[in-house]
């Protein structure tokens, strides 16, 4: 019952969060059509490098699924390993985001430079904040796993953390498509 309730809570929560991101994504698209500023400035983005870091984030969805399946099969060690790999992959993605930010700031593109800076840093920044939140959650769950908290085959915390992490991943696919891929078409 509790696992079912918590998973339901997390699903409705991410549905609500999705509307938050949709608001920001629609705003980004709207601003790109409003003036040429975004289509001129987004040449500074490094789609190749970010694309590679995107692969790390996508892979982390697989590793957390693998870890949670381990718990299902009564193997908390697999869960711990899956979580650890997921955390490393998520951290690598955030490092990639940091590199992109540093690179843009070197080109003097900041949040107050023009509407591209405002929309880009806000949208990707809120996503990165969600990734960071996810990493904190996963670290807590990893700690609890190592402390031997998860003895059964199912856990409300693990299940809902996995749902959240997949959501963060899915949002990035859309954000990456809108900001990086569509301009290349």
């Amino acid at each position: 019952m509790k696992t079912m309730q918590t998973k339901l809570l997390m699903k409705f929560f991410i549905a609500s969060e999705a509307i938050f991101f949709i608001s920001l994504i629609i705003s980004y698209i709207y601003y790109r059509h409003l003036s040429d500023v975004i289509s001129i400035t987004d040449n500074h983005l490094d789609a190749t490098s970010t694309g590679i870091f995107t692969v790390f984030l996508l892979a982390s969805s697989g590793t957390i699924w693998w870890g949670r399946r381990g718990l299902h099969q009564g193997k908390p060690k697999t869960l711990a390993l899956g979580l650890a790999i997921t955390i490393v992959l998520g951290a690598i993605f955030l490092y990639g985001q940091g590199r992109e930010y540093a690179h843009l700031i070197q080109d003097d593109i900041t949040i107050d430079r023009n509407i591209f800076g405002s929309a880009f840093f806000t949208l990707t920044g809120f996503h990165a904040l969600h990734v960071l939140t996810g990493l904190v959650i996963l670290c807590i769950i990893l700690g609890l796993t190592l402390a031997g908290d998860y003895q059964g085959t199912d856990s409300a915390g693990v299940a809902s953390a996995e749902i959240y992490w997949h959501f963060v991943d899915a949002v990035w696919i859309i954000v990456f498509t809108v900001i990086y891929l569509i301009p290349l078409l």
Binding site: M1, M4, Q5, L8, L9, F12, F13, A15, S16, E17, A18, I19, F20, I22, S23, L24, S27, Y30, Y31, L34, S35, V37, I111, D112, N114, I115, G117, S118, A119, F121, T122, F126
Partner: protein, 551 residues
């Protein structure tokens, strides 16, 4: 009725704040009943603040060319009045009633996530306190409750007020969203055995639909508030007229703001659907139509936001689309009015205070709905927008609608929450004063709006009728203010000396009346079988239960 039976007090009730750990126990509580009461007290705190603000404004507007308030002070007062009443009074009141009543009405012992429930309350309270802290830090927000850019950009609103507005509303918004999540999971998973969705009390249905509206609407507001705060603090360009788009703020705000109207209207529809049948002694007429029209309103609510923006020049195709959607909302709303009227038809109606407010709601809310229709019609909107006609309309909806229903619900559920009835005598005096005061204040503002008096201007020239109408409007406002003192006195004395209520003073039919008044910390040891929408009727009338007549 056997008058010899003395009604026993509830065995335990809720802990008193007078004991050693009392206050700490309340602050750390995760019990839905205590949290519900604290929600209502939060709303009361801000109601006093928001009410004081508007009284100062009505003093200023009593006579033409008045200088009682400076323009700067007036701007802060009307902004804080609107923001307070919507976000910190009406929402916490409705959510608080829901937090208290929904678990009881579905036969559960608490919400699905009690700690999250406490989190929601404290976020709401602290968000509100942060908003009010702005008064101490250079001035309150002063760009109106919908805070249009570019007026709210930093170059035109240089005090920190708008920053407090953004942060305060984001925080209360988080509390509201988590509260909505809790309602959804609670209602979907914790109903008593046998209670199908179609057996739920309509108030529970309306809280469920409202929760979905919150989950859909608040993210748009939070996105807009975040962008505005980033504009102001980090000098981004989102809403800059030269390098961004001011109109986007209006889209984001009203994509939230119009569903918000129904967030404040659907729970009242639910309260009406509990109060009207009980005091008409008849089952609700058209249960499925009431639920279905509630869902229809919720869906339409997301497609009508631009009717707040007809004056911005969106073009005729867009205006026409949103005008049509807005007019359509009149249909499901009308269905509800007919449902309540037909529930009363042929019943033996008890006109106590709760029912007086409920029946007046039907009339006042219909007036508010009709004046709303005039804003759905684009040419009329162009003429009337930003006049006192809007002020009259919004108050007929939020006072004549939402607040009337809150008072109906208060008189109806007060015995359950406290174990004692409110005084009927004082209740009737309160109703009379409030009814006269409310209509005097706001019906005249329709006329002022048509005459062309613009809202949000701190004073007005001495034009024909302006002075007299405003004076009468102010007198009505003071009558309403005085009526609130009668209500507070009623609550204060009834808590101590009110007539003992017993478990089910109104002979009502939903599960909250099955447990003691006030309920013990654990709501139910057992609940009766639920085989219809009126389980207590079925229990008392085994020869003629509701479930025999349906399906």
């Amino acid at each position: 009725m056997n008058k010899l039976i003395t009604i026993p007090e509830a065995e335990k009730g809720l802990p008193s704040v007078r004991t050693d750990l009392g206050l700490l126990q309340w602050i750390s509580s995760v019990d839905h009943k205590q949290l519900g009461i604290m929600y209502l007290l939060t709303a009361l705190l801000f109601f006093v603040a928001g009410g004081t603000e508007v009284m100062l404004m009505r003093i200023q507007l009593m006579v033409p060319n008045n200088t009682f308030l400076s323009p700067e002070a007036y701007n802060q007062l009307f902004t804080m009045h609107g923001t307070t009443m919507i976000f910190l009074v009406l929402m916490p009141t409705l959510i608080g009633l829901g937090v208290y009543m929904v678990p009881l009405m579905i036969g559960a012992n608490d919400m699905a996530f009690p700690r999250l429930n406490a989190f929601s309350l404290w976020m709401t309270l602290f968000g509100g306190l942060i908003l009010y802290f702005s008064f101490l830090d250079g001035g309150a927000p002063n760009a109106g409750w919908f805070n249009y850019v570019p007026l709210s950009n930093s170059n035109f609103s240089s005090s920190k007020g708008v920053d407090y507005y953004c942060i305060g509303l984001i925080l209360t918004g988080i509390g509201t969203v988590t509260g909505a999540l809790n309602f959804v999971v609670t209602i979907l998973t914790m109903r008593a055995p046998g209670m199908k969705m179609t057996y739920m009390p309509i108030f529970v249905w309306m809280m469920l639909i409202t929760a979905f509206l919150i989950l859909g609407a608040f993210p748009a507001l939070n996105a807009g508030l975040s962008m505005l705060l980033i504009d102001r603090q980090l000098h981004a360009h989102f809403f800059s007229p030269s390098s961004g788009s001011p109109i986007l703020w209006q889209h984001l705000f009203w994509a939230f703001g119009h569903p918000e109207v129904y967030i404040l209207a659907l729970p009242p529809f639910g309260i009406l659907s509990e109060v009207v049948p009980v005091f008409s002694r008849q089952p609700i007429f058209g249960y499925r139509f009431l639920v279905g029209s509630g869902i229809a309103i919720a869906l339409l609510a997301f497609g009508v936001w631009a009717h707040h923006m007809f004056a911005t020049g969106l073009g005729n195709p867009v205006n026409g689309f949103f005008a049509l959607g807005s007019v359509l909302i009149g249909i499901p709303t009308g269905i509800k009015v007919f449902s309540w009227a037909l529930t009363m038809y042929g019943g033996s109606i008890r006109f106590n205070t709760a029912m007086l407010f409920a029946t007046s709601f039907i009339v006042e809310f219909t007036i508010g709905g009709l004046s709303g229709m005039s804003f759905a019609l684009v040419p009329l909107d162009w003429q009337l927008t930003d006049t006192y006609y809007v002020v009259a309309h919004i108050h007929y909806v939020f006072l004549g609608g939402t607040l009337y229903s809150v008072f109906a619900g208060l008189f109806y559920w007060f015995p359950k929450i406290t174990g004692r009835k409110l005084s009927e005598k004082l209740g009737r005096i309160f109703f009379g004063m409030f009814f006269v005061g409310f209509n005097l204040t706001f019906i005249l503002q329709h006329i002022l709006g048509v005459l062309g008096m613009t809202r949000r201007v701190y004073t007005y020239p001495d034009l024909p009728h302006f002075g007299a109408l405003n004076m009468a409007s102010s007198i009505g406002a003071f009558l309403m203010g005085a009526s609130m003192l009668v209500l507070f006195w009623n609550i204060w004395t009834s808590l101590r000396k009110g007539e003992k209520a017993g478990d089910n003073p109104w002979n009502a039919w939903t599960l909250e009346w099955y447990t003691s008044s006030p309920p013990d910390p654990k709501n139910f040891e057992a609940v009766p079988p639920v085989r219809s929408a009126r389980p207590l009727w079925d229990m008392k009338h085994p020869e003629n239960p509701d479930w025999k007549h349906h399906h």
